[in-house]
Symmetry: C2
């Protein structure tokens, strides 16, 4: 069974780390959000691509979920001494990825080629694709004005009230090579438990991707990133409320209803089953909270059963 | 007394670390070789500027002489895992300097401006000037062909037999802003105990600098980098032999005779006094081996006495 997953950062990475244990990873393609990408001190940083790659490589930091395990911050300490802004906590080991990527970008290589190299060099067997090779930075419109994503997310810790998002330049962006094809040729497409606005939203906004999902013969399944009204991680629930949506699994389901076949909610949210069915979706439930490796594998097995 | 020093890397840095303890550092300008500069993984690296700055900031690595003390190599280890060439041992703390410099170069700032910022941010009171703002990479012509400097110096450990040097683009380079003026206005100019071919040679090859030295009213003094036929550090003596020069203090003096007033040889080389006098130079002697801080200060005091 060929599976394509659409993924943001930490939540998706946890889910995928279970999936690669129950399916041959060579059969899995991950299409990753690049709206979070940014330049810092001249370095080209792709937080979601790196989180997915590190996690599938077993290099992930179990404390933070992002970055590399056994990390040190010597370079950052020196940059702070040089008066640089250091609110983005870049570790020494993580830095190597950004130095490597930046050099290849300067050489004219595409994000797709670089992501493939980083996967291979880190021993990841799943195929990791950026959603697009073009920079399409997420801009967060807030009560404090329009903020670059990392400014909102890291520096201001998601505090400003959100009014909406734009992905700069997305109208002229194309899906990365291979993306439309895997969406067409997969047996199943999984929308990972990621933030619908800032992780899955940018992927769906790349011209051609949402249409490809609507037209794909694959079974398309989404795993809710919201359980009992709260996000498993990050600001998804808060954003939903700020944007006037119901902060619930059904709120998420409504955002995907035009292309989705199956919505997976947490067992704690069984009460929402009916409202999601009313959207014309099949509803399944599972234990979606991935507190340890066993629960990640169990969730992956549950999803596979639903798809078979 | 205003002093300008012409400097390469480790030997010069040791000498200057003594000089700033016997003279107000604000009165000292250091004109630094940039022929060693290179790009690695997209980063703009200036080994001699950094060695001088780190040493005068008290950040120098007492074991290697170059790089930063208390260094770690986490980023380099990861780059090695990504298949990058890692024969240039870049530490995590050192890396911050190159990330900082590269970003400012990309923003259009000059090496002179960046060197001044790095001095100030690291608390160095002496003025540090690159010899030129233009890249003029040292190329080493050897029996194995023409090699980029770091390839010859670090990767091949100075093994190939040297036939000559060129500094690419030097014919179109200008002295960095301020260099000609300090050479004109200094009371004394000191040629540090650095390699005459690859440290002092590139400085002298910048159009205008050698003429400015010949015309300067300052007393110009050189400290021999060769003691008893051997270089204090690095390949200077070997290069002299390979290029057909006498590997001795008098061999070095002959290279500077057109602009030099005073040549300082080590007490061990008193026997060379006559041959250097015959070049039309004043000859003085001192203990030039700087094995510890006291000897650095003692050498600086000896030089000051000679100049006063």
């Amino acid at each position: 069974m060929k599976i394509t997953a659409m993924a943001g950062g930490v939540g998706a990475a946890k889910f995928l780390s279970g999936l690669v244990q129950v399916l041959p990873p060579e059969e899995i393609t991950v299409v990753v959000n690049t709206g979070d990408d940014f330049r810092w001190m001249g370095l080209y940083i792709c937080p979601d691509l790196d989180t997915i790659t590190y996690t599938l490589a077993g290099l992930d930091n179990p404390v933070t979920g992002w970055g590399v395990r056994d990390e040190t911050y010597q370079c950052l300490d020196r940059l702070r001494a040089l008066g640089c802004e250091t609110w983005f906590a870049l570790g020494d080991r993580d830095l190597a990825t950004h130095v490597y990527r930046t050099q290849r970008i300067q050489q004219g290589d595409s994000l797709t080629e670089i992501a493939a190299s980083l996967s291979r060099l880190n021993g990841v067997a799943a195929r990791i694709l950026p959603m697009t090779d073009s920079p399409v930075p997420t801009m967060v419109h807030t009560e404090d004005g329009t903020l670059a994503f990392q400014d909102y997310f890291v520096r201001r810790n998601c505090q400003p009230q959100v009014q909406g998002f734009t992905f700069e330049g997305i109208e002229n962006a194309s899906p990365a090579p291979g993306v439309l094809r895997v969406l067409q040729e997969s047996d199943a497409i999984i929308v990972c438990p990621s933030n619908p606005f800032i992780s899955i939203g940018p992927i769906l906004a790349v011209p051609g991707i949402r249409d490809a999902l609507r037209e794909s013969p694959a079974t398309i399944l989404a795993v809710s990133p919201i359980v009992a009204g709260e996000a498993l991680k990050g600001p998804a629930a808060v954003m939903m409320r700020q944007l006037g949506f119901e902060a619930s699994a059904s709120g998420v389901a409504s955002l995907y209803r035009d292309f989705l076949d199956v919505f997976v909610l947490d067992r704690r949210d069984e009460s929402l089953r009916e409202s999601i069915s009313a959207l014309g979706l099949q509803v399944r439930s599972a234990d979606t909270i991935m507190s340890n490796e066993a629960s990640r594998v169990a969730l992956a097995n549950s999803i596979l059963e639903m798809l078979s």
